[in-house]
Each structure stands twice: as structure tokens, then as C-alpha cells.
Amino acid sequence: MSLLDRIFRSASSIRNQQRLVIMLACANVLVITLVCFLAYSYFSLNQESRERMGALGDIIGADVGAALAFGDDQAVGTSLAALRADLAVKQVFVLDVQGKISAYYHNETDQENLDRQQRLSVLRSHFRSHFLDLSPEVSRSITRDGVLLGSVLVEQDERVMIRKLLFTAGIGAGILLLALGISFLLARRFQKIITAPVTAMAAAMREVSRVKDYSKRVVPVGPDELVQLALNFNAMLGEIEQRDAALQENEARWKFAIEGSGDGVWDWYIQSGAASYSSLWKQMLGYSEEDIAPLYRETLDRVHPEDRPAAAEAMRVYLAGGSEIYLTEYRFRCKDDSYRWILSRGMVVSCSEAGQPLRMIGTHTDITERKEQEKELLKIEKLESLGVLAGGIAHDFNNILTAVVGNISLAQMFVAPGHRSFKPLTEAERASVRAGELAQQLLTFARGGEPVRKLASLRHIVNESISLALHGSNIKAVVEIPDSIHAIEADAGQLSQVFNNLIINALQAMPEGGTLAVAARNEALDGKNPCSLPAGSYIRLTFSDQGCGISEDDLTRIFDPYFSTKPKGNGLGLASVYSIINKHSGHIGVTSTLGEGTSFSIVLPSTGGEYQPQQADAQSQTAGDQARGHILVMDDEELILSLAIGMLEYLGYQVTTCESGAEAIALYQTSLETGSAYASVIMDLTIPGGMGGKTAAEQILALDPGAALVVSSGYSNDPIMSDFKSYGFSGSVTKPYTISELAEVLASVAGQRAAS
């Protein structure tokens, strides 16, 4: 078996193995047939020989029967001698009825040196193994009319059978050789039938793998199995083709998906340096299809020289396995030689067996906008910190200004209106007030405060702002505010800041001069209004100029903080306008036509009734009246304290000052004990390093629940200032204050106290 295996293995090609199989099968069949035929020949020859020898024995018996019967051995011998003619007979014994040899014959070629008796016993022993006997022997009785006369033993010459068997074997061997020859020829013939289609198929397969054209098909010819093989191979090619198509579709789909997100796609074959770029990749940088060659170099050349080292390092780190994904940002040169910020991301998608990266796919995202926003944010942060700084300065500045304003207003009290100094003092007071407002504006931004709302006359604030801002300009203001205009509850300071800003904007928009139209009217809004305001009573105020107008783009950003179209603008003006109006639960809108003008429209909640002017002026007219009480003033600033003393004494009050909350409490307690309680206490909200107004007020109220307390602060936006009643105060006054403001609040407090 192993030998056969070895022979088969040595026949390397199917062709040779096939030939071997056919020949071996053929030889096998023939050898078996030959052996069977030889065996059959032997047995049939044996049988035939026995029959022949038996017949011969019968003939001899009949012939020599009489001689035997009469004991005539000579006659028997004479009869046997006639057998010489038959070469097939080896020897013949004729035995009489007693078993004695009557006659014996053997042919001349028999040279065995034995006497007849020995030969007889040898022959008799042969009878036992006659199956494998090449010289078959037969024994026959000689009878006459049923009477046994003797017997005859005949043995055939072995050469007869040997010759016949050799002849048969020779013919068989001849047939074997002939059949082998024929099978060899058949194998050669079949070889053409079987191996030719196999070779053709192999060639087709080689072709398919060479050109990678999976639409090719093998022609199914040859035997059934080969046809089946070819069909299977074709089916496999079909599957590969379909899978390729699916892969391509898939690739198109993900490219579409990525490009749909606005990213460009790059695909880099690392070893060859070839690369492909998606249309979007090119479009986002302003390139047309032809501008970019399919090479990775196109990317490298366009990276901003300053960004190249960082980008190269990111790639090196990624390829060395230091990062999950290749991710870097660089400036990329567009077709117009401008640079855009690009976020480049990528991944290796195929590697060689040795682990070398072969192909990398990635995206380009335009992050220029984000970069600019980041820059903007940085600027905002800077400005915010500046704001804090400014706020700090403004606070101190405000305190100083309080002293200036206060002292001017006090000085006015000593000068008759017709005096030469009166007008300059008035102007100085006004300017100081504006300076205070500016400080207030800064404070608002530095701290972002709530407005301190008071019943106010719109017309009054508007007129004041216009006269202040347009003084000395070539702008003519046309104010149309009906008498029926409703009063508003607003922070007059913040509102005048708003109007100031709007007027200054108009002024700047009309450098050649023009008309600023200011109009106001009452409006009742229902729940559904374009300003998204709650239903109620409102006033609408519009400022319309005839200036150059604002572009569409700028209009959308006009209220953004730090947005300015002016070279020296800080971008806070309109932003604070927006902020203040919002805090007043109002709405501001803008419409503009380039070259025709801009119109700001402000909607503010109104009280629903007309403004009833209070007699603040009247109070001031009571200046110099009899002392009306004792006022305690608490402030850490000496300037404020001396101003307060001057103002209050002018107004007819007796004044005591202190510099901290604890001191104020102690003084108040003493006054209670002496039965001459202070008519009012004016307290600074914040005392650095000491008890502030808030805590001191709580303790004083604990001593005297009816105490008339007024809170004073530069921070109009402090919640306590706008909601002073919740903290137990009876009134508030924002620094810097004028003598009339002070008189007004004290009168109001006194009124409340009298009412309670």
C-alpha cells in the first residue's frame, strides 16, 4: 500500500496519476481474470484428462478383458503395446482379479529407474492428492457381464497438461499486455477529455487573479464534476463581484456620510505616496478638481510653514502608536493664498503583514470659525477682567464725584441765581452728574446690576438726555411726546444712559448733520406681540436718525457685547442699552436702511397713568427752614461725611456722623435712651473692614422697629438698593447724590414715618 502511495506521489500531475490508475485497474482486473482462467483451465483440463483416461481405461479393459479372464498376460501386454501411438499416456497397469500386475505399459520418455511394482505403489499414492496433479490418473474395473475380471490404472503424461497450461498462460499474458497497451492509449485519450478542461479552468483562474476582473467566467465544459467545479468557481466569482460592488457602494456611502457632515475626505497610500481627495476637500479650500494632483504631497505643501513641525510630529506619534487617532490642527493654504484652519483627523485602515501601515483615510474639517470664536472669547475675557478693574476704579471715582457734585450743589445754595457764579456752578454740576452716570455705566457692566426703579417721567429723562448730548452739535432734535404719555417705573440713571447712547449713535451716524426724531406713544399689548412681552400697558419710544444706516450683517450683531463698527468704540454702548431695557422688562428693536437712516424702537412697561410730578423742587425751596430733626450719617469716606454734614445742615437738619456700623448702633441706642431718637439714619451699604449698612440696619431695627433708615451706595445695581424695603430700609439714595435728591429721600422717609 505504501509502495502504491509512493508511486502515486511520484506521479505529480493529475494526468500521470490518471494514467496510472487506469493501467493499474486494468492490470488488476486482467491478472485476476488470468489467475481465475488458469485455475479454471487447470481444473477443466484435469477433469477432461480424467474423463479421457477413464475412457481409455474402459477401452483397454474391454480390449484386454478376455485375455485377462483367461490369464493371457502376453495377450494383455500385446494389447497395451498398441498405446505407444498415444503420447498422452504416461503408464498403464492392468491388474488381474487378484490384484496382480497382468501387464504394464509406459511411454519411452519415462526414464524413471523403478520397477513396475514400485511404480504401482507410487501411482496409488497419487490417488490421494489428485487435485493438484499435473498427471491425472484413473482406475477402471474390468468386468464382463457383471463379473469382475481385473482392473486397469491409467496415468496421463504431465507434459500434456503443462503444455496446455503454459499455452493458456501465454495467451493470458498476451491479452494482459494487449489490454495494458489499450488502457495506456485510453488513458492518453481520457487525458485529453479530463485534463484539458482542468487546464483551461486553471488558466482562466490565473487570468482572473492577474487582472482582478471578477466579471470573467470559466466556460463549463468536460465531465459532470468538472462542469460542476466550473459552475462553483463561477458562482464564487459572482459572489466576489457582488461583494466588491457592495464594498464600493459602502465606501461611496461613508464618503457621502462624511461629506454630508461638511468634512472633506483624504485617502493616502502611504508606501506609494498616492492620495485621493474628495470634491468637498477641494471645494472647502477653493480648489477645482484639476488643481490637486492625486498625491499626498499636495497636502504637505499647503500646510502653513509654521504648523508643519507640529503636524509632522502628530503623524509621527500616531504612526508610532502613541495616539489612537491622528489628530492635528493646522493652517491650510487655499487657492486664493489665504489660510484656513483645518482639523485633520485620520486612521490607518490597512497594514502589511509586517505591520507597516499601507493606507490611511481621514477627514478635513474647516475650523476657521471656531478658531475666530476662540479668539473672540479670549478678547471678551480680557475685556471682562478690564471691566472688573474699571468697576473698582469707578467705585472710588464715584465717591469722589459724590463729594464734587454735593459740594457744587451746596455751593449753589449760597449763591443767588442771578449771581455770575451760579451758571458755571450749574454747568459744573451737570457735567459732574454726567461723569457720575459714566461711572454708573461702568459699574453696571462691572457688576451687572438690577435697575433701581422709581416712578419717572419719560419726557423729562428724554429731554434731559437730548439737551445734554446734542448740545453744540449740528443735529436738530424733533421730540414728539404727548402729554398723555404714561408714567414709567424705571431707573432714571440707566434710562438716560440708554437714551444717551442712542443719541450719540445717531450723532455719529449723521456727521454732516440732520434731524433726530424722537417720538413716544402709549401702547397696550396683548399676549401675542412680536416682542414676546406679557400683556399690559406699555409706552413705545422711537429714535429715528437720517444717517448712513447699518448693514444687514451688522444689524444682527449690533447688540452683541464688544461689537463695534467704530474705530474707537468699546462695543459696550448698545450692549448696555440692550441689557438695561431687558432688565426693565422691555424690548428694543432696530430697523435700518442703508443711506436712509436707522430707527431704534423701545417698548417699556408703563404704570398706565400719567406722571404726577412730585414736589422735589418744593422741598429744595424749603431749604433754610427750621431744623426738622437729627440725622445720623454713617460712611467710611470722610469726603462723603463732610458733604453730608454740609448738605443736611443746609437743609436744616442736625447731623451726627460715624464711620462704622457698630458706631452707628451705639449712637442710635444712646439717642433712644436719651429720648431724642434720630429722625433718620443714612447708611453706607459697604464699610471696608467693618459692619456694613445691612447688618447695622437689622440691629437698629431690633432696637427701634420704627427707625427711618436710608441706604446709600455707589452700586445702584446692588439688590439691596433696588429692593431696600425687604431689608428694612425706608429709602435709598445712589451716590453721587445732589442736595435735592437727598432732600427728596429724606422727605419721603419722613412722610412714611409720619404715616406709620
Binding site: A62, D63, G65, A66, A67, A69, F70, G71, D72, A75, L95, D96, V97, Q98, G99, K100, R124, F127, V138, S139, S141, R144, D145, G146, V147, L148, L149, G150, S151
Partner: protein, 176 residues
């Protein structure tokens, strides 16, 4: 085959022993003659009138040692017929004889015996000299220590007896 051989051997060795034992006194010559007497009918055909009975009788007439030799085979069969050996003395006793051996002592009354035997279709055998010339059918002679026989076909024809050619071939002299 083996069985047949055994039979042959048994027949060839055991059966003849009793006659041999007693034949010690009888010359070999008579043994052979007895065989002749018993085997001749196998090669001869007697006329129907001679074969009336069931059995087959070999009759002996005259003084001859053959009688004692043949005694041994008295119970034997000749073919399908039982074999009987009878000794006769008178011509009148020939009825029912198929083979008649005439001893030399009866030479004197051949003239009587032969016609009678011829008439009855009996095969006559004798070892007397010139028996066939005297009208007998088979004459046994001793030549060179061998028993040979002569055949008188004319006499056989007269008795309506025919012979197998094998027998004719073996005969030393055939009288036609």
C-alpha cells in the same frame, strides 16, 4: 475410485484364497482350466433353448480334478445367474447343462456325448487332445506351461453357439 480399488484388491487377494488353500493338491494347471470354464460363458452366446432355466450350470463329466476346484465356486453367480456345478454321468443328465466339461476319460463316448450336447446347444469344453478336431467346441491345451485353447467354430455353429471376437482373438487355433 478408492473403493473400487479396494474391491479389486479384496477380490484379488481374499476371495481366491480358499481354493488356493485346498488346491495345494490340485495342479496349477486345473486352476487355470477352471477359470477358463467359468469365464468362457462370458464371451459366448448360447441358443435360447439352452438357456431355459434360471441358473447357469457348468456340468462335469468324467474323472477330473476340476470338480474339486470348481466346488469352491459353487455358490457363486455367473453374471445375474446363479452358478451351479454339476457332475453328470449319463447323456440323459445333460438337460439343464449350459457348459459341459468332458474329461479325457470320456473320450470313448464322445460320439454320443457331442451330438447330444450339440442338439441341446451346450458348449462343450475338454482338455483332451484334438478335442476340436473330434467335434468338440473348445479344446484346452498345455503349451510351454501355458494353457491355450482351440476353437471349433463349425461345431459351435452347429450347436447355434456364437463367440465374442475377443475370445476368437485369444484362441490358438480356430477351426472353421
Amino acid at each position: 475410485m478408492v473403493l473400487r480399488l479396494l474391491v479389486i484388491v479384496l477380490l484379488g487377494t481374499l476371495v481366491p484364497l480358499p481354493p488356493c488353500a485346498r488346491a495345494g493338491e490340485v495342479p496349477q494347471e486345473y486352476q487355470v482350466k477352471a477359470r477358463y470354464l467359468l469365464n468362457i460363458p462370458l464371451y459366448s452366446e448360447l441358443p435360447p433353448h439352452a438357456m431355459k432355466g434360471e441358473g447357469y450350470s457348468v456340468c462335469l463329466i468324467g474323472e477330473t480334478p476340476l470338480a474339486s476346484v470348481l466346488e469352491a465356486t459353487r455358490s457363486k453367480m455367473l453374471g445375474s445367474r446363479p452358478l451351479a456345478i454339476r457332475t453328470v454321468e449319463e447323456v440323459g443328465q445333460l438337460e439343464r447343462c449350459q457348459v459341459l466339461f468332458i474329461a479325457s476319460s470320456e473320450r470313448y463316448r464322445l460320439q454320443t456325448l457331442l451330438p447330444e450336447a450339440q442338439r441341446r446347444g451346450i458348449l462343450t469344453v475338454s482338455d483332451m487332445r484334438n478335442f476340436t478336431r473330434l467335434g468338440g467346441i473348445i479344446g484346452l491345451q498345455t503349451v510351454d506351461n501355458r494353457i491355450v485353447f482351440d476353437l471349433n467354430l463349425s461345431a459351435a455353429g452347429k450347436a447355434a453357439i456364437s463367440f465374442s471376437s475377443h475370445l476368437l482373438k485369444l484362441a490358438r487355433d480356430v477351426i472353421r
